[in-house]
Point group: C2
Chain length 257, copies 2
DNA sequence: CGAGCGGTTGATCCTCCTCAACAAATGTGG
DNA sequence: CCACATTTGTTGAGGAGGATCAACCGCTCG
């Protein structure tokens, strides 16, 4: 593969032209979305924004009036502790709404930040409210997508609560593989993931040093490698087993909601 | 206080007669619920069920067609690991829907089980679907209540990921105090919590032995005690500080959704 | 009365953290 | 282009928080 150059060179397909491409893939992996509903979504979105990495996209406690859809790049939701520790709640991939829940919560209790340069699409709360008033099925699909976040949260609770360091990290890379695969951002058994080991640590409730050791072990076990911002999975079955990963919680059956 | 006798003697107010009492308190702490909407909820509920403790209420992977509202008792959502370990995702108090998300997910990826004898009210998915079709504001309030679960999940991720054992446990008891207070189930700075130390351990990602030691320490520090199924908080401010607890994530402002 | 569960305490072990040093990669200004 | 700073990754040594194993107590219930 040719070396990628620009900060947003993550994308090399024509899909880059449609900001809803990944969202539609994500939704249609779970339910039937009509042409009309697709159009309603298109009519709901507003301006496109670009941001460099390490910027706060939504700050905790600040009232917001629009939701943000991630089009390109990686984003995380996180909270900081008083002693400087940080915990990532969720790592977001293109096609994810970053703060759809802000529509009803009005303000978030956590921060949302870019981990890479990102491209975002804004959607006013008013438009989403209209959807809940006039298009109940589409509204249910949006509701569903917040339930998916909650299911991912629960799996994270299990990971940090009960799994070993090696298992946690394996699980995280498995999850990202499946989620990126749904939106067409994997290349065979590998995917780009331009984040640091410290980020992995904050996501898995470990220290960066220990993450480094576990990554080394995963490499030596021949399961996967994470180098140069790229994840390469060598033994998918064994990696899943090590992380006790099963994709049930990602609800990938297409069924009416 | 007189000794409570029966398995369901948790309740000593007249509210016991209205199965929606706690739910209405919970919803009205966050938004204005009209008389009409209250009536719609009343028309949506079906039979009342009672179950002993330690029963599975909803099993992972089984398709369900109704949601369950907890009226009385304590319930948890949990997952088991292959080696016999268990992690609680959330601990539910009266007024909580245990599986409102099953309405859209159709089946859950985790189990829901009773931790005490419980009283439940069933609500068919069809009724909830009707609400999303005809009563968008009420539907948003239901959506909101699933977002509240997600916010509680996120705080749990932070706890198990980054907080010390003492801090985690303090936080858990703070959260339960506030949530029980909203639905009128506290008595000053104490509340009934008829669960075991092993349950606390599974909720906080620790072992029962270590929970026991931390509870002892909290007692010796004069912050709180948990004995005979009763939590007594002696120093609320210091307990909050120890658990780094703030109730922001419970969204207790009443504002339109 | 014995069984079983929940709680308590001690001794020991081990995963993961902390601290520290250094290497490699990346970025910056001259 | 190089010199330099900064960030990220890597490795080692030592330490600590929590797990594990085990024994025992008290209570409840059949």
């Amino acid at each position: 593969m040719a070396k990628l150059t620009g900060p947003l060179a993550n994308k090399d397909t024509v899909s880059g032209s449609d900001p809803l491409h990944e969202l539609l893939l994500k939704l249609r992996a779970r339910d039937v979305l009509s042409e009309e509903e697709e159009q309603i979504l298109r009519d709901s979105i507003g301006e496109i924004k670009e941001l460099p990495r390490a910027k706060v996209i939504v700050k905790a406690g600040v009232t917001v009036s629009e939701c943000t859809l991630l089009v390109e790049g990686f984003v995380c939701r996180y909270k900081d502790l008083s002693d400087g520790q940080r915990q990532l709640m969720e790592l977001h991939v293109p096609g994810d709404f970053l703060d759809l829940h802000s529509f009803l919560l009005k303000q978030l209790e956590h921060n949302v930040g870019s981990m890479t340069p990102v491209r975002l699409v804004m959607t006013p709360h008013d438009k989403i409210r209209d959807i809940t008033e006039k298009h109940p099925h589409l509204a249910r699909m949006l509701w569903f997508s917040t339930l998916l976040d909650a299911a991912i949260h629960r799996e994270r609770i299990l990971s940090v609560g009960r799994r070993s360091a090696l298992s946690r990290i394996s699980h995280l890379f498995c999850e990202l593989y499946v989620r990126l695969n749904v939106v067409g951002l994997t290349d065979g058994f590998s995917y780009r993931l331009p984040i640091t080991q410290a980020d992995i640590a904050d996501a898995s409730g470990l220290t960066a040093v220990h993450v480094n050791r576990m990554l080394k072990q995963l490499r030596e076990m021949g399961l996967m490698s994470f180098r140069n911002n790229e994840v390469v999975i060598q033994d998918w079955n064994q990696l899943q087993r090590t992380g006790e990963f099963s994709d049930h919680y990602l609800y990938l059956e297409r069924r009416p909601r």
